[in-house]
């Protein structure tokens, strides 16, 4: 039943997409400044039916309707309702439907909210977006249909992978999807702009809100994924340079570059073709990432979602996107002349772009090299953190410096007065760094440089905030929040990296272990039955001899029954100054447990800083609303 409703709705959306393209092509030829009413109506229907389609699947999951293969394979009656719903996008087919939803919703919103812009440009955008929608709808129907029925109807489902049964992971995919699939709209708009000749300043204005929205959500999605890895994977790390994490970083670098160069396009009406390249690149990289993750070429935490047969289709689609972009771009490309003053703000914004391009290429090489090597020479290697750390970290130093100084250079020309301020702040940063170095521990020369520039950036922005309060203007606020967030992020990651304590040992119930000024008492073990798992909970008393404080930590070993899996839940005590992190795993047939104890300074501040980066974007979105 649900299967028929779902498939019916998908077909309806398919037909609506075709008719929108058809009507839009006709509307292109007709005179008049306005888009015909019926195109709006069709788009509204398309959006409604797509959302209904998604709700149908959600209902299937809530009611545990195992007549759908998708529900049978990814759900179970004993699962809490929240995870039943989250299960909808916790699998390939369902997430593809979510993907289509976002394509359609963005398509409609772009049509409605950009009514002041050129008609041809909007129609072309609509056409391209609907071609994308059609592509993914066919993929959904032919290869990954979430509404496929199964007969006879099974009595019970197979269950969702337990490590995915987690609040952070329930919201991680929707956030990332709004971020990554949201890019599709300015991919379409960029192609439309090339075709219709509607470029420059106005083009920048038409897409900037959408760029900001998708940037905010991408940033949030990446942070939430990282937080999940921190407490769920049980290693105490938060960024692993895992191929899938890298795949999510690539579009982020491109979109961050795009956000900055859009400012130049809007204010100075130049860099048009560079902006177009970035628009196209961002979505192409999003799809490339999807391809790499879903086809199973890359092995990582996300392999649950992989299947080579999907690969061919996404690859075909990707090729089509790349070649049509290239052909259209080269057809319209004209050389632009740039005459920037070397000390102007444009130069610094371009500098941001060069850094982003560098980071992007580094991560791309690190990610693709193993695949290339495997295909060409049959050698299997994996590129890990050392490569990325060596190549990326030194470049962070000038990057941080420019992040502070760049935005303060006025448009076109600027005075040398700023130089004094810079010198003074660098000196202060050096002094603060010396203080940390002297009192808390030694670290390498490069780390010194990182700390100095990070502190410099923070101080510089602190002065900016002071200025902001004096001027009572909010215009600069988003930039300051995001840049400050970035400076703090680098600073706290540095501190965390330098001063973390980590110890691996075996302990039995009643045992005591001393590490530095910590004393770890293994008090007892309890067994608790939960709805969909059984938990072995350890109780640990951690005494800090330095300040005589006592903390209790209770890590868990969870035994899930559907499907049979063991997971290790870290116990984390988050405090303002540091996180205590403890995981426990059983040593088979022994009374000993393997304990991993970590003290990670300023962990919470890493998250706060990262959220500040995203917050800057959201603040900007609300500011824009108030201005209108």
């Amino acid at each position: 039943m649900l299967s028929n409703i779902g498939i019916g709705l998908v077909f309806l959306v398919l037909i609506l997409s075709f008719s929108i393209i058809y009507k839009a092509i006709f509307n292109l030829e007709t005179s008049g400044q306005f888009i015909k009413k019926n195109i709006y109506t069709l788009s509204l229907f398309q959006t409604t039916f797509t959302i209904l389609c998604f709700f149908t699947l959600i209902i299937g999951f809530i009611n545990s309707d195992f007549s759908l293969i998708n529900v049978y394979e990814n759900s179970h009656t004993t699962k809490p309702i929240f995870y039943k719903i989250a299960g909808t996008w916790g699998n390939h087919e369902g997430s593809l439907l979510l993907w289509v939803n976002i394509l359609v919703i963005f398509s409609y919103l772009f049509l409605v909210f950009n009514h002041t812009h050129n008609k041809k440009f909007r129609l072309y955008t609509l056409i391209f977006q609907n071609i994308l929608i059609l592509g993914f709808l066919f993929f959904l129907l032919l290869n990954s249909n979430p509404f496929n029925a199964i007969y006879p109807i099974p009595l019970e489902g197979l269950g969702l992978n337990p490590i995915l049964q987690d609040p952070a992971l329930a919201i991680h995919p929707p956030l990332l999807y709004v971020g990554f699939v949201g890019c599709s709209i300015y991919f379409s708009a960029a192609l439309a702009s090339l075709l219709s000749g509607y470029g420059g300043k106005l083009f920048a204005q038409s897409i900037k809100t959408w760029v900001k929205i998708s940037w905010c959500f991408q940033t949030l999605g990446i942070i939430v994924g990282s937080i999940w890895a921190y407490y769920e994977l049980g290693w105490g790390g938060f960024w692993f340079w895992d191929p899938v994490e890298n795949a999510s970083l690539l579009p982020w670098f491109a979109i961050t570059a795009l956000m900055h160069s859009l400012i130049v396009l809007e204010k100075r009406n130049t860099l048009y073709f560079w902006v177009i390249i970035l628009c196209l690149l961002t979505f192409i990289l999003s799809v490339t990432g999807t391809f790499l993750v879903r086809s199973g070429i890359l092995n990582s935490v996300h392999t649950f979602a992989s299947d080579p047969s999907r690969g061919i289709y996404i690859l075909l689609f990707l090729s089509l996107m790349i070649f049509s972009s290239l052909v259209m771009f080269f057809k319209k490309y004209k050389k632009e002349t740039y005459n920037f003053n070397l000390k102007s703000r444009e130069t610094f914004i371009l500098a941001n772009n060069w850094f982003m391009a560098f980071f992007l290429i580094t991560v791309l090489i690190g990610m693709l090299y193993p695949i290339f090597l495997d295909v060409l020479t049959n050698v299997k290697i994996s590129v890990g953190p050392p490569f990325f750390n060596i190549v990326i970290i030194p470049l962070v130093v000038p990057f941080l410096f420019l992040m502070a100084v760049g935005p303060k250079f006025g448009w076109i020309k600027s005075q040398n007065k700023i130089l004094h301020k810079i010198l003074f702040l660098i000196l202060s940063a050096v002094v603060i760094n010396l203080f940390i170095f002297y009192f808390f521990g030694k670290y390498s020369f490069l780390s010194n440089l990182i700390f100095i520039t990070a502190i410099f950036l923070i101080l510089y922005l602190a002065l900016d905030i002071k200025e902001l309060i004096n001027k009572k203007s909010k215009l600069e606020l988003p930039r300051i929040i995001s840049h400050l967030g970035f400076g703090m992020l680098v600073f706290f990651i540095g501190i965390n990296y330098q001063f973390s304590l980590e110890e691996d040992f075996n302990l039995k119930v009643g045992g005591i272990k001393k590490i530095d000024n910590y004393e770890i008492n293994f008090k007892n073990i309890k067994i608790k039955e939960n709805k969909n798992y059984k938990a072995v909970i350890g109780k640990f008393k951690i005494i800090n001899n330095k300040n005589n404080s006592v903390q209790y930590l209770d890590p868990e070993i969870r035994i899930y029954s559907n499907p049979d899996t063991l997971t290790y839940e870290a116990a984390i005590k988050t405090r303002i100054t540091s996180d205590l992190y403890l995981t426990m795993s059983n040593v088979s047939r022994s009374e000993y447990y393997n304990i991993k104890f970590q003290n990670k300074p300023f962990m919470i501040w890493i998250w706060i800083s990262a959220f500040m980066i995203a917050l800057g974007g959201f603040v900007q979105l609300t500011l824009k609303k108030n201005e209108h």
């Binding site: 070429i297 990707l318 080269f330 693709l368 295909v375």
Partner: protein, 172 residues
């Protein structure tokens, strides 16, 4: 559209990338274990689990008429069920090599102490790289090779009575 070197380079790049991706997709069948039967093992070298100085290579395998390479770990419960068959096999005309897969040394030693050690040699594969060579994607898995280093049987999952009988027949 006039052709310039720049455009040609960009297009070639795009084609190259997509070609590699396409080839990469085909590559995926090195996780398809069926292909492995009949093929010869090459570049085989295994470092001892408890002693880094100990190792065996292809030359050692060539001396045995039959060798069963078994992937195991202390955290793997099906490994326990197949263990008695491995112990039985250890009295037969076959050499057993255990590869300890993504495991902790202490746990693995406890595992063998508790259940008995059927292996003539125990090697380690801490990061799972050697296992990739054999197309192992889950354990337990076992690979039977002859003195030419040709793979004659591959068992995915625990060895049970039927698999055990088949092995005995093959090494007769």
């Amino acid at each position: 559209m006039n052709i310039s070197i720049f455009k040609i380079i960009i297009f070639s790049f795009a084609i190259f990338f997509l070609f590699i991706f396409w080839q990469g997709l085909k590559k995926n069948n090195n996780y398809d274990t069926k292909r492995l039967i009949g093929s010869r093992i090459s570049n085989f070298q295994l470092i001892g689990m408890n002693n880094d100085d100990q190792y065996i290579s292809e030359d050692n395998l060539k001396k045995n008429q039959f060798t069963l390479i078994n992937f195991f770990a202390s955290w793997c419960s099906p490994c326990r069920t197949e263990h008695k068959y491995l112990l039985n096999l250890s009295n037969k005309k076959i050499k057993l090599i255990g590869i300890n897969f993504k495991d902790k040394k202490n746990n693995a030693n406890n595992f063998l102490k508790e259940l008995g050690n059927p292996y003539d040699f125990v090697g380690k594969d801490v990061d799972g790289k050697i296992s990739i060579l054999f197309g192992v994607y889950g354990i337990p898995e076992s690979i039977l090779v002859d003195s030419n280093l040709t793979v004659i049987k591959k068992i995915v999952g625990p060895i049970d009575q039927t698999q055990y009988d088949k092995i005995l027949k093959l090494i007769q």
